[in-house]
Subunit: 514 residues, 2 copies
């Protein structure tokens, strides 16, 4: 392997012995004399791949590279597993599951007899279970296990000291290739008085042990909607404020509308087109002033949760010293091969991508390993990425939205199957939602799909597979699905496309005969 | 369209007018003079397709043919929708959903706090909901709707009167092609005294309005296991007897074992290797004598449910008059194109197939329409059919079992991912089960798969799609799945295959270099 441009000779380059000194892992800074940049000299060969950040992207890359026999350093300042494990998907989905069971139990009179409509919640037990689950999943990525996989874990804050070296708590580590996978951090809303009265973020909310009697959720994106519904189900008086006319701004309007209905049904107080202008503490409670369509009002709550988005974690890395270009809002600048301005250095995951998803973070990390270490030419833009908001019902999407297809000048035709036409959804009492598949008009080629259903996340996987494999709806319509499953909705939508195309063919034939 | 062999000229052949007399549907037998075979003469053109049985196969064929502009007769003696709708999947899955919610509610202390462990069941409400759901789904296939779709519905018992005609309650209907789709009926176990004391079948069990305090289920196939678990969850003291060493005889042993554990956990009393030898009524209750591994014992129950299998419904059709060969056990004899011995007559669904599934019944009906009416050459053996037993956890399968692959001399390698290694299964507390994918050894070609999981039915659809499209596990491993979903287990199994294949390649390379 060669670098694409000569890197400045590292300070310890002349001492390129392969064995001595022993690898320096997770420990205090060495007391060996410092080099001219103030770091302890690195007497070993440079790492084949040095990774900053042990979240989903960093871990995936470390494992790929180590499995291929590369020498890998993984640097983490906080805890292994990243946001997803500690303050993201894992704790939130675990809580959502409890909330779902609770809601199912309350609706049980419809389903299973005279179960009392009021099911009590032991919120502390819910949170205790969440932490148990998190601890358990955490063990998969323990330091011991990483070590066994041949990955050198360094605990500390990494800063670039040159184009081919970083410093971690006083130790200088050189690299042939580096990956920046520092992820993202929650955006703090700029609201007068908010910082002073205190608020919960996606990080601190999972440390709660007592259910807040009332909760204001700021922001109606995926996180805000998921948690607002869960807290309402647990019994908090829950209010959600969103500064746009509908939740989930990225999703299709009918999907977002269904989530809005679902939240309302669960008792969430919904404020759309609403901005919080000020917060103050009075009598130990939080008085929130909001403006909705020009009207100012005040509400009083016990806790405030902000979920207005995330920003790439680019601070404190001394990226300038490595020649890596970045922007505070959009993160590290990468090309379609995930290369930064420094051809030795790549980025993956939230720190450089528009969408902060665990699955894309991992996928981008796999691309980096191939492109950085194995002369790959894999493109980020070639990925087909499904995502899902785990409200009840769930909203899942893959591929293009209609608006995106239109913007690209692609004529779109959409085939929709409402879930109330799907046998399994009816038997399960989960009839809310639809499967919508967008195709290039006049063809069966899938452009994208949106699914709203109680198992949309599972169902979208089928469409992603078809898209990745280039299978059209004619093919999908012929796939026998297990009966009865909610996934049959996908086949039904495909069937509708086939019937429409065939009818078109017949119409064309008969008109050409007339 | 021409027939492949000349049929005997029907009595009314000379009267082949296209309009007069008006179609004779659902009504009393005509009073017009009878022909020599005792039937009212049919003065209209023969039907393009005459279908006996309006279950899933008959309905699917009728719709396919009518949509293609064919003249279609659909004959049903009982009710439209067949066993699946009335006494099969629909009512059972609706009941199972109630039982699932109940079980979830009871386990809620783990998940959502101090919910009382004893959740009461209003069994009458459960059954009432089931009948509501069934009525609702039934409306899709109403006589009015079929009429609007251009299908002539005839209500009555059909008997063949010749190679190209049937009689329905005294009316003779001629056909160019016919489809026998009469389905199957439950097998009655031959047990001394059983008929005298009375018992429930998959038909009568759904008419219950009171929960039996105790219930003996005879037979541990899919139906027996599903209903035993449901009744135990509703609160019946439930006993299941199965005459083999493990439930679900067709499924892989570890899958069947998991179902056995699950039933036991739900409080079902399990008797394997057990035969019921006699039943008698005493004091209004049913005394059942069973022999388990040579030991005789007696148990007393309130109700007995038999679910020992189904037999093809071939009686009373006068198949001999049409030259259609059949067997009382295996049903109508068909070739791989679903043709009977009479080349005008086809069969589809339970009446001719090894496995009684709604999805295969429909798929076989589509094949028949293409082969019978459009000179198709589609083969039944080319179908990839997934199936699922909806116990909790569910057991789903598609493709070959290991034993089948071995019998065909195909070397098999299996990749297994236990659900307790799947993030979403852990967060949802649904860790029981596994995804097992069988490939031809040394390749990534999928031979078959078994999934045990709380959403195995949904997950198997993904593998079926891959198999139908001829996608290998390398391709599947690269499909980004929605995160976190239980379906990721499929990708994880695919990933294990890729790693194993790549390790094999490396090993081969290094050994060839040494």
């Amino acid at each position: 392997m060669t670098t694409t441009r000569p890197a400045p000779a590292p300070a310890a380059a002349k001492d390129r012995r392969s064995v001595v000194p022993p690898p320096q892992r997770v420990g205090p800074a060495q007391t060996t004399p410092n080099t001219e940049d103030g770091q302890a000299p690195d007497k070993r060969d440079p790492y084949d791949l040095l990774i900053i950040g042990a979240g989903p992207a960093g871990l995936a890359a470390a494992r790929d590279a180590a499995a291929a026999g590369m020498r890998v350093a993984l640097i983490e300042v906080h805890h292994i597993g990243g946001n997803c494990l500690h303050e993201g998907c894992i704790p939130s989905k675990t809580m959502l599951r409890s909330a779902q069971l609770l809601a199912d139990g309350r609706n049980a009179p419809i389903n299973s007899g005279d179960t009392p409509a009021e099911v009590n919640v032991d919120f502390a037990a819910v949170m205790e279970r969440m932490r148990r689950v998190r601890d358990r999943i955490q063990r998969v990525d323990s330091a011991v296990r990483l070590d066994a996989e041949g990955i050198d874990l360094h605990v500390g804050r990494a800063r670039f000291v040159s184009a081919d070296a970083v410093a971690v708590d006083g130790t200088r580590l050189r690299f042939r290739r580096a990956l920046i996978a520092t992820g993202s951090r929650p955006v703090m809303p700029d609201i007068e008085g908010l910082a002073a009265v205190g608020f919960l973020t996606n990080e601190s909310v999972f440390e709660l042990t007592r259910l807040p009697p009332s909760l204001l959720v700021i922001g109606g994106g995926p996180l805000g909607c998921e948690l607002a519904q869960a807290f309402a189900r647990f019994g908090s008086r829950t209010i959600i404020c969103h500064n746009e006319p509908l939740f989930l701004p990225r999703e299709e309007r009918d999907a977002a509308q269904m989530v809005s209905h679902a939240l309302a049904r669960d008792g969430v107080e919904i404020h759309l087109n609403c901005n919080i202008v000020a917060v103050r503490l009075e009598g130990g409670r939080k008085h929130v002033t909001m403006v909705t369509d020009g009207n100012e009002s005040t509400t009083v709550v016990d806790e405030i949760l902000t979920g207005i988005g995330r920003l790439p974690a680019v601070q404190g890395l001394d990226l300038e010293k490595a020649g890596v270009a970045y922007d505070a809002e959009t993160g590290i600048q990468v090309d379609d091969f995930l290369r930064t301005r420094n051809p030795r250095i790549f980025a993956a995951g939230d720190v450089c991508m528009e969408h902060a998803y665990t699955n894309t973070a991992e996928a981008s990390a796999h691309i980096v390993v191939r492109n950085a270490l194995f002369r790959g030419r894999q493109r980020l833009s070639a990925l087909t990425v499904p995502w899902c908001t785990y409200t009840d019902p769930q909203v899942a999407h893959v591929g293009l939205y209609v608006r995106q297809a239109r913007a690209q000048g692609i004529p779109v035709k959409t085939y929709t199957v409402p879930m109330h036409d799907v046998v399994r959804a009816i038997t399960d009492g989960q009839e809310e939602g639809f499967v919508k598949i967008h195709v290039r008009e006049g063809t069966d080629r899938i452009l994208g799909a949106t699914i709203v259903s109680s198992c949309a996340g599972e169902m979208i996987n089928n469409i992603s597979l078809a898209m990745v494999a280039g299978l059209g709806l004619r093919r999908l319509a012929r796939v026998i699905h297990a009966y009865p499953t909610q996934g049959e909705a996908v086949r039904q939508a495909a069937q509708a496309c086939v019937q429409s195309l065939d009818a078109g063919v017949r119409a064309t034939r008969s008109s050409s005969q007339s």
